[in-house]
């Protein structure tokens, strides 16, 4: 059989399309696959996560100990202008976190309860997907979504991408508005995005995140959700928990015990 040049080109072109198409499909399909595997609990590497026990947390509505500890540890400024606010962990009414779970008749005791909000350190973080410089990335060793403030160009694509509102931008120089400076942690400079890093600087020293340590009610349980023996995993196994907007496929790792 003789193949003309035209035919040869046609066939090889088709092969190329088929090959790359298959690859592309595999790539596109991947998130869905790992999603199902995460649901069945067969993830290999470590994934740090947190359970917020709202039953304990709501006891003292005025308590801001976790927030204060974070602010102190990370040189977070307190701007008067709400537009410029920087927040790593903060409190919002339960209803705002779980608006899709709302029922009109929910006991007010839970509906309006101030509940801690922080970065979800997602399995498939959209902020990492959109970052054009790799200034934010998902750490392989422990699943923390990290920030490199040296590399961030301040385009704020990550802020648009985050479905949880976990990211803050330094609209102005934060230093003058930091109440007490912690020399062991850098401040940030104007023009970069920041967020909770699960206190990676404390974890490396073998300490717990500042908020977890500061909570008087021990309402924040921190650990590796992939380790079946961890405290957090035990807690997740025996109690019903909620995650914020899991339907988006981001795989949030902050669990709310209600």
């Amino acid at each position: 059989m003789k193949i003309t040049r035209k035919e040869f080109l046609k066939i090889s072109g088709a092969c190329l399309v088929a090959f790359t198409g298959k690859k592309a499909l595999a790539v596109l399909d991947n998130p869905a696959k790992s999603q199902t595997s995460s649901a069945s609990g067969s993830k290999a590497s470590k994934q740090l996560g947190m359970v917020v026990d709202t039953r304990k947390c709501i006891k003292d509505q005025g308590c801001t100990k976790c927030i204060d500890a974070c602010v102190q540890a990370h040189n977070i400024p307190s701007f008067k202008d709400p537009h410029h606010q920087i927040k790593w962990i903060w409190k919002k009414p339960f209803d705002d976190l779980f608006s899709s779970y709302e029922t009109e008749y929910l006991e007010t005791s839970l509906k309006d309860e101030q509940t801690p909000v922080l970065c979800n350190h997602c399995d498939k973080p959209p902020c990492v997907r959109v970052c054009p410089t790799g200034a934010t990335w998902k750490r392989k060793e422990d699943g923390i979504v990290m920030m490199d403030w040296h590399r961030c160009i301040g385009c704020r694509f990550c802020m648009a991408a985050c479905p949880y509102g976990a990211r803050s931008f330094n609209w102005v120089d934060p230093r003058p508005d930091i109440k007490t400076l912690n020399p062991n942690f850098p401040t940030r400079t104007k023009g970069v995005v920041e967020k909770c890093t699960f206190c990676s600087e404390r974890l490396v020293k073998g300490e717990m995140p500042a908020c977890v340590e500061a909570c008087p009610e021990k309402a924040l349980v921190f650990g590796d959700v992939n380790d079946p023996k961890s405290e957090i995993r035990q807690l997740l196994a025996k109690s019903y928990t909620l995650r914020r907007r899991p339907e988006l496929g981001t795989g949030p790792n902050i669990y709310y015990l209600v």
Binding site: H83, S99, V130, I153, C155, M159, S168, V172, D173, G191
Partner: protein
């Protein structure tokens, strides 16, 4: 620089206009320096509305840039001769608007001095990276095309053979810049006002209405100011394109409206609630409503053939189209996507005065570029018509001679008086 000397001669009106633009640019640059030292807190943007006027303007200008394809495609692919005198204007408009896009991105950046990080640490999974690739590629393509076609025109020769491939490439590339810009928004999981498959098509439809509308206005302005006439047929042809694009754009908006309002999913209706219905109190409502009213008025003027062909009403229609889509895309689309925030907060966004002045400055840079480019293009075209130099003989030689022309440069004198030559991208030529 390329034929720049042609932009250095002009009457008093020309210099007054250029001078005024330079003043605006200087003032805006001063404000930009202040923004650079103070931070983006100078603008009205906030933690919850983290993109504002700058990114809105960027998105709108990508559309204007892409719309050059609406004159390039009919002229080069369909041999639509009426557009001959308009094509170079469209391409120059694209160069100016892509430059404006890049400036809007730069002024929106928190750390503009680190912009090279995008190339030093390229992230292929980031749409922003691909947007940078497509935008800078489009700029290079159009700069190349305008340079070689205009240069050839001046020398009264055919442009080099290979330029036609660049022109062909620029057509899908124009579609790509706005598609990728649409992906910036439609690929984000949590913003339901943006996460719609129709985002990129809608962007293209509105772009192909707003861009040609602007081009019509520019052409009519040029005729009044300089006497350069692109021709009635060209204007009418472009007006038909504006009409189709505007109808399709309105159709797309209605599709979105139906899907959201009939399904009644709160996340989908949110956008329409604050833009048009006023169910929640934001600063966007008057803008959204104005845009819709202008859109409807423009459609009426465009759809009635008598009014579309009448230049006076066409001008009004084009102004309406342009301003309605400028509001829709440059103000409402971006800001609307941030309201409400992921935690249900309604944050008002009002651009500050410095923000407006800086934005105006970028527009002034665009206007200055268009002025200078059009001045160059027109002086080439008008000189050619006035002197009517006998054209080079192309007819049977096609592209090959184009290459030869390029290498042998302009010194070669035209050899025969075969009359005015009309060329298209494929090296074919027709004698009149």
């Amino acid at each position: 620089m390329f034929m720049f000397e042609k932009a250095m001669t002009g009457g008093r009106r020309y210099w007054t206009w250029v001078g005024a633009l330079l003043v605006v640019i200087a003032v805006a640059f001063g404000f930009y320096l202040y923004q650079l030292s103070y931070g983006l807190g100078l603008t009205g943007m906030s933690r919850n509305v983290s993109w504002g006027l700058y990114i809105g303007q960027f998105t709108f200008m990508v559309g204007v840039a892409a719309s050059a394809v609406m004159v390039v495609l009919p002229y080069y692919l369909h041999n639509h001769k009426e557009f001959a005198r308009m094509t170079i204007l469209g391409e120059f408009l694209a160069v100016a608007s892509v430059t404006m896009c890049m400036m809007f991105i730069m002024i929106d950046m928190g750390k503009p001095m680190r912009v090279l990080n995008v190339m030093l640490y390229p992230q292929f999974h980031s749409v922003m990276f691909w947007d940078m690739v497509s935008l800078s590629g489009y700029l290079i393509l159009n700069a190349t095309i305008t340079y070689f076609t205009l240069h050839a025109e001046q020398e009264d020769v055919h442009y080099p053979h290979w330029v036609k491939y660049i022109i062909l490439l620029s057509i899908p590339w124009a579609i790509s810049i706005h598609t990728v810009t649409g992906f910036l928004y439609s690929g984000l999981p949590g913003r339901l006002g943006w996460r719609t498959a129709i985002m990129a098509p809608r962007f293209l439809a509105s772009a192909f209405a707003a861009g040609p509308a602007l081009l019509i206005l520019l052409c009519l302005l040029l005729r009044r100011q300089t006497g350069y006439d692109v021709g009635k047929k060209a204007i009418n042809g472009l007006a038909v394109i504006v009409t189709y694009a505007m109808v399709i754009n309105t159709f797309f908006i209605l599709m979105e409206f139906f899907t959201a309002m009939y399904s009644h999913v709160p996340d989908l209706t949110a956008d329409f609630q604050d833009l048009y219905l006023g169910a929640v109190h934001t600063s966007l409502l008057p803008w959204g409503r104005t845009s819709i009213v202008l859109m409807a008025a423009a459609l009426v003027l465009l759809l009635v053939p008598r009014w579309r062909r009448n230049e006076k009403t066409l001008v009004v229609a084009c102004v309406l189209v342009f301003s309605s889509l400028w509001i829709d895309k440059g103000v409402c689309m971006v800001v609307g996507g941030f309201i409400p925030s992921p935690l249900g907060t309604i944050t008002r966004y009002v651009p500050t005065l410095p923000e407006l002045i800086i934005t105006l400055g970028v527009w002034a840079v665009g206007a200055l570029m268009v002025t200078v480019f059009y001045k160059i293009a027109l002086s080439v075209e008008i000189a050619k018509e006035a002197s009517y130099v006998p054209a080079y003989e192309f007819a049977r030689t096609g592209g090959a001679i184009g290459l030869q022309m390029h290498s042998s440069s302009a010194a070669v004198p035209p050899d025969s008086g075969s009359g005015h030559t009309n060329k298209d991208a494929f090296g074919k030529s027709e004698q009149e």
